[in-house]
Amino acid sequence: MENRPLFKSGHTACAGCGQAIAARLVIEAAGANTIVANNTGCLEVFSTKYPETAWGVPWIHSLFENSAAVASGIEAALKYLGKKDAVNVIAQGGDGSSGDIGLQALSGMLERGHDILYVCYDNEAYMNTGVQRSGLTPFDTNTTTSPFGGQSSGNLRPKKPVPEICSAHGIPYVATASAGFPQDLTRKVKKAISIKGPKYIQVHVPCPLGWRHETNQMLPVAKMAVETGLYPLFEYENGVLAARKQIVPKPVEEYLKLQGRFKHLLNNPEEIKKVQSIADNNIKKYNLKLETQG
């Protein structure tokens, strides 16, 4: 990492940005022989404001929703040039650009079988435009377009299951990861890069500004999301659940109380119960519960 930084200092992400942490880990794990196509979003804006760039690898941004398609063109060009085996291609974006407006391009990329790793940095709302709700915003989150009010407890819909949608394409590798588990993220990126074909990794990345927590709380927040079962870490290989991080589940309040975006739920046991049931379903679905040793 010391030799030639692939994502270097001087970018303009907010202090304590989970996405900046994850993006640096991803590219350092992928290595210098990588071309990155980036959707519009926080990462793009804070890392490449002309005339500066944080990227030590060839990097391109085109539009909000098309990095998967741009990367498809890059991969096709590399194939034409006979260079594909020597170069990794990564397409990346936020949750909105990946799972909402860019879902079609992402699906196309997966279905066509391109040898590309897609990384979705999931901070669970449109942060770059000011914390508006996305399809990956969790249930009951207070965002600027799903505000808490007298008639609403925030975002009324559960989080869109984009990893499952991707896995349903029959691609070789899908994983979730978290900025709170940097070595796990690095391992998953290296594994994904070693597999030929389309791969999808969704990284949970705390946003101190949008989630409303102190910048030094990035780790506790990220970890607690995993430890409550609200953000399960798992790997799908060829459509089959192959691995998951097991936990001793903590109650969801432990996670909710760390963040201003859930503050309105803390005196509302009814709503907390609903959030808990989402965690419980995850724990059951992915068999997350660590059997305590006797």
Binding site: K49, Y50, G56, V57, P58, H61, E65, I74, A76
Partner: protein, 395 residues
Amino acid sequence: MKEFIEGSHAIAEVIKSCRPGVISAYPITPQTHIVEDLAQMVADGDLKSQFVNVESEHSAASVVLGGSATGVRVYTATSSQGLFYMQEVVFNIAGMRLPVIMTCANRAISAPINIWNDQQDSISLRDSGWFQLYAENNQEAVDFHLIAYRLAEDKRVMLPVMVCMDGFILTHGMETVDIPEQEKVSKFLPDYKPLYKLDPAEPISMGLLADPDYYMETRFAIQETMRKSVGYLSEISREFNDVFGRDYKDLLVEEYKLEDAEKVIVAMGSVCGTIKEVVDEQRAKGKKVGLLKIISYRPFPYARIYEALKDVPKVAVLDKAVSLGAYAPVAVEIKSAFYGKKKGPKVISSFVGGLGGRDITMETIYEVFRRLSAKEVNFDFVDLKPELLKEEYGE
């Protein structure tokens, strides 16, 4: 080699000879025959391209953007709604200075849905930073693609080119076309050597955020490049003529019987063939009429048009597109070429015709010449059916 061939097949043949490394397209009538042919060539091993079947035009344009940014010659084709669906990518490609070549098989815009020809689709993207060359016939359509690659990849230019050919009329029309031989094409269009590309050996960042301190210069640079390209087109045309023996002069306009002309129609695309027939008939009867065909709509050749029409008393502009709520798009630019100038037509009348594939017949052209009188008209349509306008809804 001369062949009696469908327009789309001819385009596929010439694209093959241009050797693009990445081709991507999404099906839309009437563009389909071109890309079907290219897919077959790839399947047969006759064309060593990566053919990427995408899930939308937005992705088709994005794939060729990515391919071009990786330093490879690329090609796509679309029409109508497809062009509109890729619109933001179209602007993006120009802003990123990537020499993408696209065929627009011109087709009307919905609603109501209509698959037939007019030029509303490409005209609506006139401000995108793409060159737009309009073909009158399939020989021009073929040749303009070759010229398009040369122009786009010129190191002074590095901008995308849209070759516009009227849907069905040209794409599905059978004509005798001289398909350029590979040897000559390779001479005229050598392998693509990009100025910049995505390459781990020399990493660069492309498509950065340009704040108010930087954005405006990107637009001025394209504007200046477009302006200077008016001259580059002449250079390339001369070289083209040297290799292929077909002379498109300055590649901006074609003057047809303009000497001493008193009435001239200005038009773009296949309708120019029909207009030439009428001009010939009228000239045979001693009527002083002519045609000014616009080949390059972007860049728009103001000075060249001024020279061609400055002594013509009456000009009719026949647009196959409309700017709803304003003067027709080509007409407005022809008028602006004479604003504040000493010389120029007394009358520049504007007619809109052929929308949604309504045939522009020789009779239509005669009608335009008849209505081109001392009284300037605007907002006029030709071949309207008044009985259809009686439909009313509500009170």
